[in-house]
């Protein structure tokens, strides 16, 4: 049928068409303000971050430590049995060098998001955060890193209480898969 149809619908506009007033349009902006209840798991995670601790939780059945903490294990559906304070070190699971911001503005120095497997959590369990104090060319999967915290009096109970993770000297014994 694509072979038979000559003209498919769909009128393509350029940005210039809007500027030139060639077509009619309007704008709107949602005023969407939320206060999401943090609950037991994430509330405790945020409270720990304020104290400079990354919190996980432990599932007795699956013998796993997960991060961020939750009150149930999604794999066995049993209640998690305890919160576990984790180290603020870990290894880079993967990363990117990003030259555009979230709203697609071009930047010179890349943002370096990474998934960091947190020490004390089960293998391949980590969080997303940023890398800093590092030459982008030097970053490798498997590299060891440590959280750089905001000063205690500036911490608010937020994932941004960690400024970023920076490389640490200590040699990794982990393989990237671990």
């Amino acid at each position: 049928m694509t072979a038979k149809i000559k003209e498919f619908p769909g009128i393509s506009l350029s940005e210039q068409d809007f500027i030139d007033g060639k077509i009619l349009y309007n704008f709107d902006k949602l005023n969407g303000q939320y206060a999401w209840d943090t609950g037991i798991g994430i509330g405790s995670y945020l409270a720990s971050l304020k104290n400079g601790v990354i919190l996980g939780s432990h599932c007795k059945t699956c013998r796993k430590v997960v991060v961020p903490p939750r009150i149930i294990c999604e794999w066995c559906y049993r209640p998690m049995d305890e919160f576990v304070p984790l180290k603020d070190t870990g290894i880079v699971n993967t990363f990117s060098l990003c030259y555009v911001t979230w709203d697609m503005k071009r930047i010179k120095e890349p943002e370096i998001p990474a998934v960091i497997n947190i020490d004390g959590a089960s293998p391949l369990h980590g969080i997303m955060h940023m890398l800093g104090e590092v030459d982008p060319k030097e970053i490798k999967v498997g590299m060891r890193v440590q959280a750089v915290w905001k000063p205690a009096d500036e911490r608010q109970g937020s994932i941004n209480d960690i400024l970023y993770f920076k490389p640490i000297e200590e040699q990794s014994h982990d393989t990237p898969e671990s």
């Binding site: 009619l24 349009y25 303000q33």
Partner: protein, 153 residues
């Protein structure tokens, strides 16, 4: 339900927003409907001969049979109040002393939702004929607000 206790210092809620900003094109029907409203002060509908429906505001498709509509009709600028309400709340949920009078003004098988003006609240009733009061041509931009309000004929 849970074996874990919430940290007593846990923040109750995390505050944030859903950043949604949009630009809407008026589309195939809207382009002609609002150009005509703006430039000529006329209200247009489209007719579906299959379903014998005249849609106001105009649409390029019949919602009943999905036929393409290209029979445009001028439906005048006055219509009957099909229903109305006295709205005592603002967009943000706050209450207002004096209500806004909002009506659905029937044109053919459709109509327009708009404000009523030039009328006492007690005098508004279903079935009343009202007419579009247009903004001056120079102030019209191609918008439903090119009609200032509807007033009794």
């Amino acid at each position: 339900m849970t074996l874990l206790n919430r940290d007593p210092n846990a923040p109750e809620a995390w505050l944030g927003e859903l950043p949604v900003t949009n630009r809407y094109t008026f589309g195939l029907a809207g382009e002609k409907f609002f150009r005509t409203l703006k430039d000529e002060g006329r209200i247009l509908g489209t007719h579906c001969s299959h379903c014998d429906q005249t849609y106001v505001p105009a649409t390029v498709f019949c919602e009943r049979c999905l036929a393409k509509l290209d029979e445009w009709v001028d439906v005048g600028t006055s219509g009957e109040i099909d229903t109305f309400t006295l709205l005592y709340v603002n967009l943000d949920g706050s209450f207002r002393e004096k209500p806004e009078i909002i009506a659905f003004v029937r044109f053919a098988d459709g109509g327009l939702v708009h404000r009523l003006g030039g009328v006492e609240i007690d005098h508004v009733e279903i079935g009343m004929v009202v007419q579009a009061v247009f903004k001056p041509a120079s102030e019209r931009i191609g918008s439903i607000l090119d009609i200032d309000y509807f007033k009794p004929v």
